[in-house]
């Protein structure tokens, strides 16, 4: 790819990316609305799944009572941020609740 075609590709893809971002933002709002009533978002964000598997997870969660309104945007958001092509999530540690005992 020459510099010129690369520049063109970037220019052409920019508006598309902006549109996608709006969908992703909607997806993130939907995540808070439909997932948080039952569990923390860590459960979602620690996983790396294909779009097809996220799609099945949404069906499973709807079956368990999740009220998903903006389903397409939520799926976009999950696939874009937590797809199986993404590196594994860095492990998070909880704070020390042991009352000061040394590990």
């Amino acid at each position: 790819m020459t510099a010129r075609t690369l520049w063109l590709a970037c220019a052409l893809s920019a508006p598309v990316a902006a549109a996608d971002q709006a969908v992703l933002d909607r997806g993130q709002k939907e995540e808070a609305r439909s997932c948080l009533p039952c569990h923390s978002l860590r459960l979602v964000h620690s996983q790396r799944l294909s779009r097809a598997t996220w799609n099945k997870e949404l069906d499973k969660m709807a079956g368990w009572g999740a009220k998903i309104q903006d389903r397409d945007a939520l799926l976009e958001y999950l696939a874009a941020n937590f797809g199986d092509d993404k590196p594994a999530a860095a492990p998070a540690l909880s704070g020390d609740g042991s009352g000061g005992k040394k590990p």
Partner: protein, 384 residues
């Protein structure tokens, strides 16, 4: 400094406000009674033990992993607690804690491992908590035998299963947590209703009464058990089918499950884990202690072999006593590498039934029973 009531109230208020504003995934979370744990989910609590904590045969409660499908039940008043024993029994009972304490008490050392421990190692990835090595722990559980409780209630000789229900209830439309086990396993002398764990109240691990099904996957050991029912058939709920089932015949990795070919898991496979050194650690020249644990479900551990060269040569590790079914054994190997460089360390357990830990774990759609040979890499620096 001890906070006064006013400060406490202010803290609670600000925590409530923060919760309302976002509950961002990166908020710091502390679980009362627990050291820093790998946090997979903080509501409900799904906590993995960092393997560096596994330096004792008994895993302290403050370091013991937690797996919760649904939120913890409201705190149970031990005075008001009753265990319902019903179903195929001639004399249904409501037993108090005092009743349970009157029965002979037995201490059972048993390793409890989440069925999905190691799920994060499977490729392709499967949904569920991405446990790595630490959804496992070993404790001394103490309480009456399930068999004695069932005899007290006049167990019907034709009962084939025991159903156990925990006090936790689902959220939204999630199913209730109910499990069944074959009556033979329920009547096994090591299957108990634990009233204590390492000599303490089991707390988040099922206070006041937890079913302990030694050698089986952790999900069998129902927490906060409030009802046991003898039955002719196994419970048909979600947590028995399709959950916690393993393919009868192995599938090509990435395949969808074949519902007709899923089986309930009876007993855990043979497995070892390297708890030191830490993966990708760097060392100055000198002695390096390699250690870990190994367990084999209803079998006991016969040997653990360790390789420091990617599996060309193997060395027998020293094993801790006692050699028991149900409970892990710790192992160690003192190693003094002669050359600098990068080393791949492997551990492989063999059990009393002759089962040997495989090189490749069987991929399955739910990511259960990961037991491949464990592996860490370390670098030994050149002498200064």
């Amino acid at each position: 400094m001890r906070p006064n009531r006013r400060q406490l109230f202010a803290t609670l208020l600000s925590a409530a406000a923060a919760g309302k504003l976002g509950r961002a995934a990166d908020d710091a979370v502390t679980i009362p009674g627990k050291r820093p744990m790998i946090l997979h989910n903080d509501r409900p609590e799904d906590l993995e033990t960092p393997v560096r904590y596994f330096d004792s045969w008994l895993t302290p409660i403050d370091a013991f992993f937690v797996r919760q499908h649904i939120p913890r039940p409201a705190p149970i008043d031990p005075e008001a607690y009753r265990l319902t024993v019903n179903g195929m029994v001639s004399n249904p009972r409501q037993l108090s804690l005092a009743d349970l304490r009157k029965l002979p008490q037995y201490t059972v050392p048993a390793t409890i491992e989440c069925t999905g421990n190691g799920r994060g190692f499977f490729t392709p990835k499967v949904p569920g908590i991405q446990w790595m090595r630490g959804a496992i722990g070993n404790a001394e559980w103490k309480g009456p035998r399930v068999g004695d409780v069932l005899k007290l209630a006049g167990l019907d000789a034709s009962a084939a299963f025991l159903e156990a229900d925990g006090a936790d209830a689902g959220v939204a439309a999630t199913p209730d947590f109910v499990r069944s086990l074959p009556i033979q396993k329920a009547m096994h002398p090591a299957t108990i209703l634990a009233l204590s764990m390492n000599g303490q109240a089991p707390d988040i691990h099922g206070f006041p009464v937890r079913l302990i099904v030694p050698g089986w996957d952790g999900t069998s050991s129902v927490k906060w058990v409030i009802r046991i029912s003898a039955a002719a058939q196994p419970n048909g709920g979600f947590f028995m089918n399709p959950a916690y089932r393993f393919p009868k015949y192995a599938l090509p990795p990435g395949s969808p499950p074949r519902p007709g070919e899923l089986e309930v898991i009876h007993g855990m496979p043979v497995k070892s884990c390297i708890t030191a050194p830490e993966d990708q650690a760097r060392f100055a020249p000198g002695a390096i202690a390699i250690r870990g644990f190994a367990w084999a479900g209803e079998q006991s551990i016969e040997r653990v072999d360790v390789s420091t060269d990617g599996g060309s040569r193997w060395h027998a590790a020293e094993l801790s006593s006692p050699k028991l079914p149900f409970a892990w054994r710790l192992w160690h190997l003192d190693w003094r590498p002669t050359d600098p460089g990068y080393y791949t360390i492997l551990s492989r357990a063999t059990d009393s039934a002759g089962r040997v830990q495989p090189i490749v774990a069987t991929w399955n759609p739910s990511g259960y029973l990961w037991n491949a040979i464990d592996r860490v890499g370390v670098t030994v620096e050149a002498a200064a």
